[in-house]
């Protein structure tokens, strides 16, 4: 059965949402989601790397010997990571300062290696491209969602460039939300909510099917 390219794209948002469903790529999720801007750039970098790596892994999957596939993956992943790193250093030095070590660390981000191993290595290029784009976008969406919540609660407003919402904090910000424990709490709650909603939907679908 040929998989629908569209499904491979869309599944990254809910069904195979990397953060909440597959629970992979946790370190950047917790580390960089202190502001929406950080989350956005981090997400973008991951999309680029993921798509790049997925496409090339898929292209080379027929000629890659099984025994050495992991080193091959790493090379295929490291290449776009270096590209991202250099580009970011050149054009967004401030952002590079903030994301710091987490950009080079994308090399070992388990989302990417996992998609290469579990998907791209077994599927045609187009599907792999869609998968990379979908999972990457899902990941980015998560980062933005989490960082929006954390930034809002932790600083009292959301700041994107010179745009601030609301103009002045409405309440006394809770510093804890910017710390790793705050990240864990936020992540845990979101995960719980998503799981509850999915379980409910499943139950409804089952009830309808019967």
């Amino acid at each position: 059965m040929k998989r629908s390219v569209f499904y491979d794209f869309i599944k990254g948002f809910i069904e195979e949402n990397p953060t909440f469903r597959l629970v992979i790529g946790m370190c950047p999720t917790l580390a960089v989601t202190t502001s929406v801007v950080n989350g956005f750039w981090m997400g973008l970098s991951v999309i680029f790397v993921l798509v790049f790596a997925n496409v090339f892994v898929s292209l080379l999957r027929k000629v890659t010997p099984d025994e050495i596939r992991l080193p091959v993956f790493v090379i295929l992943i490291a290449t776009p990571v270096v590209i991202v790193e250099l580009v970011m250093k050149a054009y967004l030095p401030a952002m590079y300062e903030i994301l710091g070590i987490f950009v080079p660390l994308i090399v070992v981000n388990c989302i990417i290696i996992a998609r290469a191993e579990a998907f791209a290595f077994k599927h045609p290029v187009l599907n792999s491209f869609a998968d990379g784009l979908g999972i990457g976008s899902g990941f980015t969406a998560n980062l933005i969602l989490i960082s929006a919540i954390r930034e809002f609660l932790g600083t009292g407003q959301i700041t994107v460039g010179s745009f601030r919402f609301p103009q002045a904090p409405l309440f006394e910000p809770a510093a804890v939300m910017l710390t790793p424990p705050g990240g864990f709490i936020c992540l845990g709650l979101l995960m719980a909510i998503l799981n509850v909603l999915l379980a409910r939907r499943e139950r409804k679908m089952k009830a309808q099917a019967v």
Partner: protein, 327 residues
């Protein structure tokens, strides 16, 4: 036969002590401390306590309604969480803090894990830790000098523990002031006598096991006496150490929380001693002036391990035989 008889497994008698009865005992035992806080910090203390309690009870009811669980606010456990959390706050905090803290304690630390009996840390302490991390300034700066009934100074003043640790501009209150509660500190930390009254009531009513508070306070006493003074052994100001901070409150009311303390008596003694050791470590060598609540939280986390390790010697079993045959 005309009679319709109930058939149920033995025993056919049950104590009249129920969960809500036990919890109500704890609420009663907390009353002297509540009263003392009102005496020393005025009506403001009462508003903090009431806000905290109502927020706890409302959060519990709303959450349980939302997830369609049976609403259990009648077991008083949320009331206790509310009071304990309030007792852990400086008298000068803005009112939204107890409200948020209680909601966090009930929803995140207790209900999400399944409600009473399933939470793995003490909800009130989790709430306090959250507030401490979120708004540290309010939690560590809004001290008030005590005064009788509303005669509260708006100046902030250093707590005895901070003074012991060398905070500038503070003098130690006299022992009597420490005992009665005439000193700066959290609402429930001040009056040792009031807390002791409640604690003794609980022990007398067999609600709590004295091993935890005694082990806790005893350990702190001994360790601070031995190591309390830098550079000299056996010269520490142990009396001040046990009377100050939240030690009595924590030892009698929070470390003894059923759900998060071990079930065996040996285990409870270990729990008390463990809390004492961690408290002293934090107080003497840690970054915070006070370590009671973190010590209890840490011991909460190892409670399941203590439960596994501290199994009593079963009747008729030799020690070696037990080790072979059980765990």
């Amino acid at each position: 036969m005309t009679e319709r008889l109930v058939v149920s497994p033995s025993p056919h008698w049950k104590t009249d002590k129920t969960v809500s009865g036990l919890m109500l005992d704890v609420v009663v035992a907390l009353m002297p401390a509540v009263l003392a806080s009102v005496v020393f910090f005025g009506w403001r203390a009462l508003t903090i306590i009431l806000t905290s309690v109502s927020s706890a009870v409302i959060s519990e009811a709303v959450y349980e309604k939302a997830v369609k669980r049976e609403v259990t606010i009648k077991d008083y456990s949320a009331v206790i969480t509310g009071i304990l959390l309030a007792m852990n706050m400086p008298p000068g905090v803005p009112l939204w803090m107890p409200a948020i803290g209680s909601a966090f304690a009930i929803v995140v630390a207790k209900q999400i894990f399944g409600g009473l009996g399933y939470n793995f840390v003490n909800p009130a302490l989790a709430g306090r830790a959250f507030l401490m991390a979120a708004w540290p300034l309010h939690m560590t700066r809004d001290w008030l000098a005590p005064g009788f009934f509303g005669g509260v100074d708006a100046t902030s003043s250093a707590t005895p523990l901070a003074v012991l640790k060398g905070a500038p501009g503070g003098t130690l209150p006299g022992i009597w002031d420490m005992l009665l509660g005439n000193r700066a500190g959290c609402l429930g930390e001040t009056s040792v006598i009031a807390i002791l009254m409640g604690g003794i009531y609980l022990i007398w009513k067999e609600v709590i096991d004295p091993r935890i508070p005694l082990g806790f306070i005893g350990t702190v006493f001994v360790l601070t006496w031995v190591f309390g003074k830098p550079g000299a052994l056996f010269q520490g100001n142990a009396i001040y150490h046990i009377l100050s901070g939240g030690l009595f409150l924590g030892a009698f009311f929070m470390a003894t929380d059923y759900v998060t303390s071990p079930v065996t008596s040996k285990g409870r003694l270990l729990m008390g001693i463990g809390c004492g050791v961690i408290t002293v470590l934090i107080r003497l060598w840690g970054g915070y002036p006070e370590g009671v609540s973190y010590s209890i939280l840490l011991m909460n986390l190892v409670t399941p391990l203590i439960d596994r390790a501290m199994v009593p010697r079963y009747y008729g079993w030799k020690h070696e035989a037990r080790k072979e045959k059980t765990l």
